[in-house]
Every structure is written in structure tokens, then in C-alpha cells.
């Protein structure tokens, strides 16, 4: 295995065009290597690319760590960052890695879905910006070409003030989400609901959004109906971590509670 240590994005993407595997914080890639699932021959290490760690207004560089997002990020994304791994992992893991890995359980992804973020990518031949729902295509499957690097995520200039992230997992820390969710709500009632771990990609519960956005002051029964709709909209699977039935139920409960936090 050989490793390159580029200093600039240009150098990094040039290595990618030679078929290298990008390594950022390593919190996903090294797990795969440890489990023997992957054995990359050629690795391009991104930690020394300072440009990637830039955070310019609403564009967060791919190399920004969870620790920094925990301290400086928008509220719900910071809340999500706080639940990523352990402090050591948060100091290593990056938002770009979370996006490029595209795990259904990626803690940072529901926020990107909720605010309709775009993913900035670059290759040796050019760059493009991909809307999140065109970027995440399936379980660990994205629109990223082999020679493209995620360089950042682009958030809207104005983010809803009311936003909340939550996660149901088997313990308090270092846990893969059974369900994770972001809810945002504007003053005019416009509500967005995004969930992770309940579908192959991060997803929006659009019918639920439509229903609750139309209600200015949701009553208890509106909230119950909202939870029911969210549970109906998600499409989780059963695996050794949880059953589909429980994930569906927990998704509804979690979304309703986060909406409750936004309404307070």
C-alpha cells in the first residue's frame, strides 16, 4: 500500500484520477480495513490539505471535523456532531467523510437533507455542485465518480432558527443510530423532517411536512397524526440491531418530540 500526502485540492484530485482511495479522518475507511472488507493499494491522505478544512460562511469544508462542528455549527448539526463517536473520533472524523461514505446511519446527513444542502465535488477536470437528494443514491452509494472528491457542503444562507436533532440508540454515547432525525420549523409554520437509519439514504418525510406545515399551532392530536404519518413514510429494514417495526415506531416518536422542541 502506498500513500500520498497532497497539500492542495488540485494535488489530491490528481491522485484520485490515478485510482487512489481518499482517506480523511479514517473513522469509516479504517473500520473497513480492520474488518478486512477493503484493502486499498493506493491511499491519498487528505489531512494536510488545508483548503479542505476551510469553513467559509455557509460552505463547510469537507475536512472540517465533528469537533469543530460541535462547537461552531448550526444548532441541529452541532447536536448531531455531539453524538458522533467518542471525543477522539470527533477530533478525527470529518463531515466530508460522513457524506462520501453515505451510510444510512450517518449522523450528519439528516441535517443536510433537512436544509436542502448541496454537496460540492471536484475532479481533475472540473467541479460540480450536487443537490443532496441527487447525491445520496443508496446504501453507501453516491453520485460521486471515482475521480471526484467531496470538497464541502453548501448550506443555504438563511437557516431556520428552530431546528433540532435527536437520535435513538442503545446507549448514551458512541452508538450507531437506530433512528436519527432533524426537524426544522420556520415562523410561518414551514416544517422539514429528515431522517436517517430508516431508509437506504437519508430521507425527507414530505407528506408529514406538508401536513404539519399547514397547522399554525399544532394540537396534541395534530402531533399524534404527525408521528403516525412519519412512521408510515419511513421504510426501515430489520437487522441484528433492530426490527423494522421498532425503527418505524421510534421514527414517529422522535420526529414528534423534535417538532415539540421546535414549537417551544
Amino acid at each position: 500500500m502506498d500513500t500520498q500526502y497532497p497539500k492542495t485540492i488540485d494535488e489530491a484530485v490528481s491522485a484520485l484520477s490515478d485510482g487512489a482511495t481518499p482517506l480523511a479522518g479514517g473513522t469509516d475507511l479504517m473500520v473497513e480495513v480492520n474488518f478486512g472488507h477493503r484493502r486499498p493499494d493506493h491511499v491519498v491522505a487528505l489531512r494536510r490539505v488545508d483548503e479542505l478544512a476551510e469553513w467559509d460562511g455557509s460552505t463547510i469544508g469537507a475536512g472540517v471535523t465533528w469537533r469543530r462542528i460541535e462547537l461552531e455549527g448550526p444548532k441541529a448539526l452541532a447536536e448531531a456532531a455531539r453524538t458522533v463517536g467518542s471525543p477522539q473520533i470527533r477530533n478525527a472524523g470529518t463531515i466530508g467523510g460522513n457524506v462520501a461514505t453515505a451510510s444510512p446511519a450517518g449522523d450528519g446527513l439528516p441535517f443536510l437533507a433537512a436544509v436542502d444542502a448541496s454537496i460540492e465535488v471536484r475532479s481533475a477536470t472540473g467541479s460540480r455542485s450536487i443537490q443532496w437528494d441527487e447525491f445520496f443514491l443508496g446504501v453507501k452509494k453516491t453520485a460521486l465518480e471515482a475521480d471526484e472528491l467531496v470538497t464541502g457542503v453548501d448550506l443555504p444562507e438563511d437557516l431556520p432558527e428552530r431546528q433540532a436533532f435527536g437520535k435513538v440508540g442503545v446507549r448514551n454515547a458512541m452508538v450507531i443510530a437506530t433512528v436519527c432525525c432533524v426537524v426544522t420549523r420556520e415562523l410561518d409554520g414551514l416544517t422539514r423532517v429528515a431522517l436517517g437509519s430508516v431508509a437506504p439514504t437519508p430521507m425527507r418525510a414530505r407528506q408529514s411536512e406538508e401536513m404539519i406545515s399547514a397547522v399554525a399551532r399544532p394540537s396534541e392530536s395534530d402531533l399524534a397524526e404527525f408521528a403516525r404519518l412519519v412512521a408510515a413514510e419511513v421504510s426501515p429494514i430489520t437487522d441484528h440491531r433492530s426490527t423494522a417495526e421498532y425503527r418505524r415506531h421510534a421514527a414517529g416518536v422522535l420526529a414528534r418530540r423534535l417538532l415539540g422542541r421546535c414549537l417551544r
Binding site: V31, N34, V170, R171, N172, V175, H240, T243, Y246, A250
Partner: protein
């Protein structure tokens, strides 16, 4: 008997080494020319090996040795001798070793493994305990009847069986006003030490030195001697620092495989496990169990009879598990007063990872079942569960389930203290509850030895076979020596874990270090005390009987100014008759149990120095998701006089946290054919510091003669008994009936609230 000097809060001297990284573990040790070992595992749960060809593997560049069972003596080992070093003819679980490779590096070793050619004829995997004992069931071991096993009751897939009968259970049930039956099912779980094990072997001539992360170096040595036909004095096992064990590193594991590889390769060979191997391969997991209990009781709360049936998942091989049925039977009966009992317990072969001693084997699961059942009994007559226990638990002078009459014990005090510390009668939110459970655990007397020496500057070294896997021998033994010699614990260093240097000890197993090696260390130190007193008497012109050793000096009783320092005396001794002590002592005898008819008796009906505990746990339940959070724990323990409060409290806190994990999150999930589905920390969730609630520890210190030194009893396993049970009882208070499945995951609690499952 002198009491201990006022609570020596002696902090473990190996702490800084471990925290700063200067401490050396097996994986840190390299020898010149050292090769890397890797194992080829079965990968399937049950199959006949129809072809196994290693000729190509031996030709792989960089590969120095490839071994299978063909290359080692045919020796079966285990408490039922049902296992060989490498699979022979049949593989019986996915983590069984079929071949081993030693090569220049990990990549070459992997290429060697990849070049091993093997073919299987699949056999049906036995994974269901009830089906495994039905007529005509597929046998895990066709040749079970030919295996050697001293005093183990066996039959087909029943790897070991114990029954305990006392009184007349039919008559007892007939006297009852209520008969309550419960069925509980516990999943298997894992010891999960933070350090995956390592073994390094180097031969010089016909002698081998093995560095191993084992809790039991002498057992490891004896296993090597037994399976490779070697005398004990040619095999030296050394244990550097260990990153925990929790029972997982008890027993004899891979020392012989690595030694055999090193001999064949004519090079030192080191094996270091990956986390996944640590989950899948060792014959030490906490066994899954099915526990059925029926108890008769009167309206006044008197227990009239108990019948129980316990099935334990033995896994594919017996390791040390053949005493588990007897242990589980005692745990299912508990520290109660019941005269009429009939318990049957069977450990059943399956094609899964073998079960073996993990911290307090059988107890957390069986106590969880028994204590959940006990709350059901209290509920049946509308009695408070604490009052019910106060009425029915054994006290000093009373007779327990197996007919043993207990000397002074502190169980009732434990209940009082635990309940008071958690403020049992506090006002609780509607989603909060406090559960209470009692636990008990025996002490295991055994042979053990220690050497103590004081060198010319008055500093001491204790050379002992005792082990340190976090259990605290590094603290306790210096304290015990220091108390005898009027010195400070800091004056002593330990040389431990070297089977050629130290006398025999059973190791860090069965909570036995204080009890057995403590006794040996005290005896060795006492011999030096006699020498010191005689030297001081000469110097101070007094009788040796009048010399007192205190504060680093020897002085004449009543005249502290007539003194000479121990360092000066050591200087004198170093010129002639040196200060050397040795101790082993006689282990305490097991007390008799009266009136118990026991088939498959493993000698566990009468307990030496029984330890008692009561844990009280306050939880909050999220009724919508089933998520349980533990808010507060109080744990009261009768482990006799406490030698080292910091060490003992640490054991209780760790035991409680481990118990919370067992209660709520820790489970090995098996596929239908017996493979582990979550052999990684990604999906096997221990409790972390972020989950840890406040844990209030209280010791009911009763001077207990005839067990450990200074009236002490052991402590390491007892805290891992009652926590899951207490959490279960708290959950039951909120949801109306026991979850009856362990762990009590959020999903299971939620399912119960949806009307599914439960006892």
C-alpha cells in the same frame, strides 16, 4: 489478630505505567527474528472435514510453519476432555482453529492461510437448547461417551448435569397458598476485555518461554505441558501487563498453538488477536440460559417449596463449564430460606462458541431470573418486595437452601444499607422506579504460594503466582505484607506472572487472590517478621517477643525510643542470613451442606465465606421508546473486612456498570446456524462512562474468620451478580410484568408494553 492499619488508601502503582503507555503488553514485545501467527478458523458451525491440504500453504514465500492437528500430539483437554488443539475430523463452531500459520509478516501469514485447501461436508447445526435434548437430536459430539470427565454427569448433548433435592417439594407445594411459575430467557454475552489477547513464544533448546495475556499463567502452562507432552519445568509462562480479562482470559487458550508454531518455525512467533477474533474464537463467553422457576408460598410470605429447571448453552466444547449447572442451581435457589427444593440444571452442547467462566459465571443471568421471580412472589401476596426479602433471606445462624448453617453474615444489613442509600421511599415521577435485588457468591479456596524478600536497603519484593488483570493484587498483596512488617505498601514491588519464578497460584480467577494468595503472602511476611524481631532483639538487648514492628522500625514494646530501622536490620541481614519468607498455608475446608441429595455434585452446595449483596437501582423509563436510563445505584456488599477500600470500591463500581450492560445492551446475536452477527464493538455495546450513573458503594464489614486474611472475603465477582436483577424489578414496577428476556433492550421493553413477550 491485628486489624488493618487505618484504611490504607493505597493507589495502584501500575496505574501511571498504564496511563502513560510505559507499561508493556504482549503486543508491545518484539524478539529478533519474530514471526507473525495467524489462525484459519472453521467459518461454519458444524461440518465434517473431508479434505485438509496444507502443502501449498507451506510453499508460500515468507511462510515458515503451517500446522494442523496432524502435527501435534492427540490430546483431548477441558473439564470434559472434548477438545483438541486443532479441529480433528469435525468442526463444531465457527471460531474453531483448523490450521495455524507462522510467517514473516501478517500479509504473508494471510497468504499462507489463503493457500490452505479444505473441504467440508455440512452437518446440521445444533442451536436450540430444547431441541438438542429431544429424542433423536443431532449430536454435537458423536463420540461423547468416550471422553474423559471426572465426576461429570453426561448424556448425549447434555455436557453436564446437576440436580439438587432437599425436603419434599410436592408436600411443600401442597402447603402453599400460591404457586407462581416463571420462565426467563437470557442471551449470551461476552467478557470483552479492552486488550485483545496476545501470545509470544520463544524456544531455547528444549525449553520454551511464553509471554501470554492470560489471567491464569499456571493453567496456561499446564495446558501447554498436557497438549505438547512437556514437563512443567521446560515451559515458562510470563504475563506482562494485561488489559483486562473478566474471565475471558482464564483457562488455557492459544499458548500451545503458538509454542508449536515457534518450534516448527525455529523462530519466535507472536499471535495478537483482532477484536473480531476476541469475540469469536475463545471458549469464554457468558452462556445463554433458559430458567424456569416455580415457587410455593403462603399468604404470610413463607416460602414452602421451589422447583426449577435450568438449561445452559454449553456451546461446542466444555472448557471449564462443567461446574456451571451446579452453580446455576445454587443461583436459582438464592440466599433464601426454603426447606423443600428440587432443581435440575443441564449444560447443553450446541454448535456455538463454547461457554466458560466470565466474571461470576451463571450468576447475573440466574440471579436476574430468580430475583425477578421473587418480586412476582411478593406481588402475589401484595407484599413490598424489600419486606419480602427481609422476611425470607438468610441471616446469621440460619439454614440456607442447601442445608448450610451460616456463621455471622451481613445480608440483612446489605438490604438495609442499599435501600437506605437510594432513599427507597422517596417520591418518584410516574416514569421512575426503584428496583431491589439480593445476590450471593461463594469464595473458592485453593492452593497458592508466595515468596517475600527484603533486600539490603529495606525494600521488599513479593514474588507470587497471583495475577493482575485489574483485580488489584498489585495493591492488596503489598498492603498485606506491609501490615505484617510495620512497613508501607509503597516499600514493596511485585514480581508476578512468571511460572518459573513464583510458586503456584490459580491466577486471577474465582475472586481468589485475597483469599488464597493473600494468606500465602501474609505467611511469608510473618517469617520475615520473626527474623526481623530476632535481629532487633539482639541489637536492642530485648526479648524477640517484646519487639514491635511499626512505622518502618523495630522497637521495644512500651519504649518507642528504643528502636532500630528495618532498613538497618535489612543491611545486617544482607551480610548473612537473608530476609526471605515463603508461604502457602492450608486452604480453608468447604463446610458441609446437610440433607441435600445432589447428582452431578461439583462440591458447591456448601460455600466457604459466602459473599452477600443487595443492589438498589433507580431508573427512568421512556414509555414511548422503551429506553431505560439508570439514574442511581446503591450497592451494599458483605465481603468481610475490606483490605483496600479504593480497590474494593473500584470492583463494585465496575461490576455494577458491567451489570447495567448485561441488563440493557450486551448480547451476542446468533444467526440460525450458530454464527455471531455482532462480533465487534460497533454492534456489541458495553456501557461507557457517559452511561455511568452515580454508584453508591457500601461495605458491611463483618470480621469473617477462616476465609481470607484479616477477616476478609473476596470481592471481584460478587458485584456482578445483582444489578441486572434490580433493573428488571424496577422495569416491572413501571410496566406491570417482567421483560423476562435478557438483555432488557429498549425494543423488548417496548414490545412488552405493546403486549408482546414478557414473563
Amino acid at each position: 489478630m491485628p486489624l488493618l492499619t487505618e484504611s490504607k488508601h493505597f493507589i495502584r502503582p501500575d496505574g501511571p505505567d498504564k496511563v502513560t503507555g510505559s507499561g508493556r503488553y504482549v503486543a508491545d514485545i518484539s524478539l529478533t527474528g519474530m514471526l507473525t501467527a495467524k489462525f484459519l478458523y472453521a467459518g461454519v458451525s458444524h461440518a465434517r472435514i473431508t479434505r485438509l491440504d496444507i502443502s501449498a500453504a507451506r510453499q508460500v514465500p515468507g511462510v515458515f510453519a503451517v500446522l494442523t492437528q496432524e502435527d501435534v500430539p492427540e490430546r483431548r483437554f477441558g473439564s470434559v476432555a472434548d477438545r483438541t488443539l486443532f479441529a480433528k475430523d469435525v468442526v463444531r463452531f465457527e471460531g474453531e482453529v483448523i490450521a495455524a500459520v507462522a510467517a514473516v509478516d501478517a500479509e504473508a501469514a494471510q497468504q499462507g492461510l489463503d493457500a490452505v485447501v479444505f473441504e467440508y461436508e455440512p452437518l446440521p447445526a445444533v442451536t436450540d437448547l430444547e431441541a438438542a435434548i429431544a429424542d433423536g437430536a443431532q449430536l454435537v459430539h458423536e463420540g461423547w461417551a468416550d471422553y474423559e470427565a471426572a465426576d461429570v454427569e453426561r448424556d448425549g448433548n447434555i455436557a453436564s448435569f446437576t440436580s439438587m433435592i432437599r425436603g419434599d417439594v410436592e408436600a411443600g407445594m401442597a402447603e402453599a397458598d400460591h404457586v407462581v411459575s416463571s420462565r426467563y430467557v437470557s442471551d449470551a454475552s461476552q467478557p470483552a476485555p479492552i486488550e485483545p489477547r496476545g501470545v509470544l513464544a520463544q524456544w531455547e533448546g528444549d525449553r520454551v518461554t511464553i509471554w501470554s495475556s492470560t489471567q491464569v499463567p499456571f493453567q496456561a502452562r499446564d495446558g501447554v505441558c498436557e497438549t505438547l507432552d512437556l514437563p512443567t519445568n521446560r515451559v515458562r509462562v510470563i504475563v506482562p501487563h494485561m488489559g483486562g480479562g473478566f474471565g475471558g482470559k482464564c483457562g488455557f487458550h492459544y499458548e500451545a498453538h503458538v509454542a508449536a508454531l515457534a518450534r516448527a518455525a525455529r523462530r519466535p512467533v507472536r499471535l495478537v488477536f483482532s477484536r473480531q477474533e476476541e469475540f469469536i474464537a475463545p471458549d469464554r463467553r457468558r452462556e445463554g440460559m433458559i430458567i424456569e422457576i416455580t415457587t410455593g408460598l403462603r399468604n404470610d410470605g413463607t416460602l414452602t417449596a421451589r422447583r426449577a429447571r435450568v438449561l445452559l448453552d454449553n456451546g461446542a466444547y466444555s472448557s471449564d463449564a462443567s461446574f456451571f449447572p451446579h452453580m446455576a442451581a445454587m443461583q436459582t435457589l438464592g440466599p433464601y430460606k426454603i426447606d423443600n427444593i428440587h432443581v435440575e440444571a443441564s449444560s447443553i452442547y450446541t454448535n456455538r462458541q463454547p461457554s466458560g467462566s466470565v466474571r461470576a459465571p451463571t450468576a447475573p443471568q440466574a440471579c436476574w431470573a430468580l430475583e425477578s421471580h421473587t418480586d412476582e412472589l411478593a406481588a402475589a401476596i401484595g407484599m413490598d418486595p424489600v419486606a419480602f426479602r427481609q422476611q425470607n433471606c438468610v441471616d446469621t445462624g440460619e439454614t440456607g437452601v442447601a442445608g448450610q448453617v451460616y456463621d455471622e453474615i451481613g445480608l440483612q444489613d446489605c438490604i438495609r444499607e442499599a435501600v437506605s442509600a437510594i432513599d427507597y421511599s422517596q417520591e418518584l415521577d410516574e416514569n421512575e422506579a426503584i428496583g431491589v435485588a439480593v445476590g450471593w457468591w461463594p469464595s473458592f479456596p485453593g492452593p497458592s504460594g508466595a515468596f517475600v524478600k527484603i533486600d539490603s536497603d529495606g525494600k521488599g519484593v513479593i514474588t507470587t503466582g497471583a495475577q493482575e488483570c485489574g483485580t488489584g493484587s498489585v495493591m492488596t498483596l503489598p498492603i498485606l505484607a506491609a501490615v505484617e512488617l510495620g512497613m508501607e505498601p509503597e516499600d514493596f514491588e511485585l514480581v508476578y506472572q512468571d511460572t518459573s519464578a513464583a510458586p503456584y497460584d490459580e491466577g486471577a480467577t474465582g475472586s481468589q487472590t485475597i483469599l488464597n494468595n493473600g494468606r500465602a503472602t501474609v505467611e511469608a511476611a510473618q517469617q520475615i517478621a520473626v527474623q526481623l524481631k530476632s535481629l532487633a532483639a539482639e541489637k536492642l538487648e530485648a526479648s524477640p517477643d517484646d519487639i514491635v514492628l511499626a512505622d518502618g522500625k523495630a522497637h521495644v514494646a512500651g519504649s518507642p525510643e528504643l528502636a532500630v530501622s528495618i532498613a538497618d536490620l535489612a543491611g545486617v541481614a544482607a551480610e548473612g542470613e537473608m530476609l526471605l519468607g515463603k508461604g502457602s498455608g492450608t486452604p480453608p475446608e468447604y463446610p458441609s451442606a446437610v440433607g441435600v441429595d445432589c447428582i452431578g455434585d461439583r462440591g458447591l452446595s456448601g460455600w466457604v465465606g459466602p459473599q452477600f449483596s443487595c443492589h438498589a437501582v433507580k431508573i427512568r423509563l421512556d414509555r414511548e421508546t422503551g429506553v431505560v436510563r439508570v439514574l442511581d445505584v446503591s450497592a451494599a456488599h458483605d465481603s468481610g473486612v475490606i483490605i483496600n477500600p479504593i480497590g474494593a470500591s473500584g470492583q463494585v463500581e465496575g461490576g455494577v456498570l458491567m451489570g447495567i450492560g448485561q441488563a440493557l445492551t450486551e448480547r451476542t446475536v446468533y444467526s440460525e446456524d450458530g454464527a455471531q452477527e455482532n462480533p465487534a464493538f460497533l454492534d456489541y455495546k458495553l456501557q461507557t462512562i457517559a452511561d455511568a450513573p452515580p454508584i453508591r458503594v457500601h461495605f458491611v464489614e463483618i470480621f469473617t474468620p477462616g476465609v481470607g486474611p484479616h477477616g476478609s472475603k473476596p470481592i471481584a465477582e460478587a458485584p456482578n451478580v445483582a444489578t441486572a436483577a434490580a433493573i428488571s424489578n424496577a422495569i416491572t414496577k413501571l410496566v406491570g410484568r417482567p421483560v423476562a428476556q435478557l438483555p432488557m433492550t429498549a425494543e423488548r421493553v417496548w414490545g412488552l408494553m405493546q403486549g408482546r413477550g414478557g414473563g
